[in-house]
């Protein structure tokens, strides 16, 4: 079996749910390799910046530790540069729903072929606890000590609205389902988005809140039903919420690299020759 561990010292808080997400990711990759879906060297782990992003250091695949908010466009590029790679993009709620929301909306529409996992702890964790777009109203983040003034965004219904071709939600501690959904997302041909509910045990521990409210969907559904399901929870802290988890929606359509008919360039043209004859195109 492929060893997906690295020898880097792990600096997540002891007990952080990211440990679980990491081990699910390793499990998913390793099973996909075993199942012959892809080779070890074809996997690329792309991350943004935040606690979640440290995953880059802890998984032994090719990787790109990107900028805060830019995991998505970086991954877009990777699929344009070599459509054969299996890209797993890990990002935070700050990354994707604040800094990089433009790329999220765009990716949902143009359908690049990779899985996007958002480790959604409803907080900027690595910067020690400010509210993000998915933080619930009233939550006292460090930049909003009197309480978050804003209503949270629902990224799942937003993704559906924006055109994502695979939309799911999972919970960080549900190893079995998270692993399965990760595998499904990686296998999906197109933009596969999974919002992973991941309470931050240090700055925003809503484990108790979500724990009993989750129930599993028997999706994927057709679009309208998926949207209805997506609206069942509005990312608030309302006491009687029901939180559906699982796959909301799945559809197959051409990917970004299909649309531009991209190739694995360095393999197709190991060395392009200088073609000074092109100058002749200017001859009058």
């Amino acid at each position: 079996m492929i060893n997906l561990n690295t020898s880097e010292q792990n600096t997540w808080c002891p007990g952080c749910h990211n440990f679980v997400i990491l081990s699910c990711a390793k499990k998913a990759v390793s099973e996909l390799i075993n199942e012959g879906h892809a080779k070890h060297e074809d996997f690329v782990t792309v991350t943004g910046i935040g606690c979640h992003a440290k995953l880059y250091d802890y998984i032994n695949t090719s990787g790109f530790y990107g900028l805060h908010g830019r995991a998505i466009p970086t991954a877009n590029g990777i699929t344009l540069g070599n459509p054969k790679l299996k890209v797993m993009t890990f990002a935070g709620d700050g990354d994707v729903y604040a800094e990089g929301i433009s790329h999220f909306i765009n990716a949902a529409r143009v359908n690049p072929n990779y899985a996007l996992f958002v480790n959604n702890n409803k907080i900027f964790a690595l910067t020690t606890g400010q509210v993000t777009p998915t933080s619930e109203k009233g939550f006292p983040g460090r930049s909003t000590p009197k309480g978050n003034p804003f209503t949270p965004m629902n990224p799942v219904s937003l993704a559906l609205e924006a055109g994502a071709s695979f939309v799911a939600r999972e919970y960080s501690l549900d190893v079995k389902n998270l692993t399965e959904t990760m595998k499904a997302a990686i296998k999906h041909k197109g933009f596969a988005y999974v919002d992973i509910i991941q309470p931050c045990i240090t700055f925003h521990n809503f484990t108790e809140y979500v724990k009993d409210k989750m129930y599993r969907l028997n999706g994927p559904f057709e679009y309208k039903k998926a949207m209805e399901k997506a609206k069942e929870w509005d990312y608030s802290d309302s006491a009687d919420a029901k939180i559906p988890v699982g796959i909301f929606y799945e559809e197959e359509r051409p990917t970004l690299s299909d649309l531009f008919d991209n190739k694995n360039w360095s393999e197709a043209y190991p060395e392009r020759k200088i073609n000074s004859a092109l100058w002749e195109r200017f001859k009058v």
């Binding site: 074809d42 990107g66 970086t74 590029g77 360039w265 360095s266 190991p270 392009r272 000074s276």
Partner: protein, 541 residues
Amino acid sequence: MEFQITIAGEAGQGIAKSAEIVSKDFVSRGFYVFNYRDYGSLIRGGENFNVLRISDEPVYSNDWTNDFAILFGKFSSHHLNKMKQNGISIGTLEGVQAKMNPSLIIKEIGANKIVENAVLLGALYKAMGQPIEALIKQMETYGKHTKVNQIAAQKGYDTYNGEVNEIRFNVRKGNRYYVSGSNAISQGAIASGMDLYIAYPMTPATPVLHILARVKDDVRAIQLENEIGVISAGLGASFAGANVMVGTSGGGFALMNEALSLQGISEIPIVTYMCMRPGPATGIPTYTGQGDMQFVLNSGHGEYSKVVIAPGDPKEAFERTAEAFYLANKYRVLSVLLTDKHLAESDYTFDSSPTFRVKPTRNLVNQSKDYLSYKITEDGNSPRAVPGKGIARATSYEHDEMGYTVEESEKIKIMVEKRLRKAKTLEDAVKKLEPITVYGKGKRLVISWGSTKGAIVDAIKLLEDTRFLQISYLKPFPSEEVKKEIEESLDVAIIENSATGQIAALIRENTGLEIKKKILKYDGRPFGYLELADKIKEMFK
């Protein structure tokens, strides 16, 4: 022998196309044409004009007075006082020497308003004593509108009864290449092995996007959501193994700054086509200027090496594009091709082909188990490999050889010093690529860079004892070479299309030498060569 034509009218009246037809006709007959294009930030309803300088010797610039002019539309009257003594202006405007009524003429032939310019072109050919057949032949490029344009041109030729000032001089035969900076960059990029061009439209970089989107070659031109998306995807694609160029102008380049810094630490090769216009901010979007130089040189936070190349004309642009790709790949750096609207959107005529100082390379090693993405080497340059064949890592954090995050003092130093050594290696590499060029002879020296080359080369031909130092590599800066040239001169001035003369500051930073004489232009217009010759003379008086 030479003469100059201005064709001016309203945006949407086919001014640029008219200029192209006349230019190509003359070029095809062995002349050298320089074509300057002036247009506002508007689609229709304002003024456009082109200035064609036509000669039997190579010319690389224009000036501001004309032998001939076609003036139509309501905005062109200011050209009336830019006619030479015996100049002939033709058009609809009050005050032109040969007033014509093309709308009447096209009515006769039952054509549309849009061919009015063809009528005036026909008249122009009569006034220049040029064969109307030549013009009519060039008009074949009008596609389905060919016929009607040709008829209109013939009609204009026949109707014209103004003065005639016959252009008659022998031209040498030989190859002629007629090319704009945008075309040269586009084809040069393909010639240099580019796979992907990624951009978001921004004047004056946009033509490269349009050209590359249309070519039949196996390359892709992709417009993405915004400039941050563009540069991030560019780095991603290059990481995956593609040869990538991204393109933009000042505002877009500003937005790319964070990711340019990421280039620096991740050492992913990339070429950026940066085509300047006058700033700050939106500034004067369809005009020209060189005011972004220091901004580009210092772009991206943190300390890292990059390459900034400023070609002086389209032929150089074609050649230097190959160097940009070569250096980017070879040293895993950012190469910026720094040009401006004047270079990008003017057409130049050359009679020879470019030569290359480098061969293209992806610079990929075959990965083995012990491949290290950031291997510590003596020259600071680490071998490059890509995912798909083994493990390759790229990161925005400070890192060790494997690409894992580090925070420890010693480990940080090791990697910072690796990059410092690479900077030195890069400096040496650039020394071999003719980073400076000297034109002409003389004890007086003018120094410049980029698109001002054309006017300067043309101007110093008219001057005594004056040579021109062109700096093609702004980073790494060829300090010794520049210092030597300055110290060998009696009098020195810099020339720049900017308000502050940034090259002087750059020279002083790198050599300690202060150049007080500055010939600057900062109204969005390029230097005319005569205007410039006068200014240089004045400066060295």
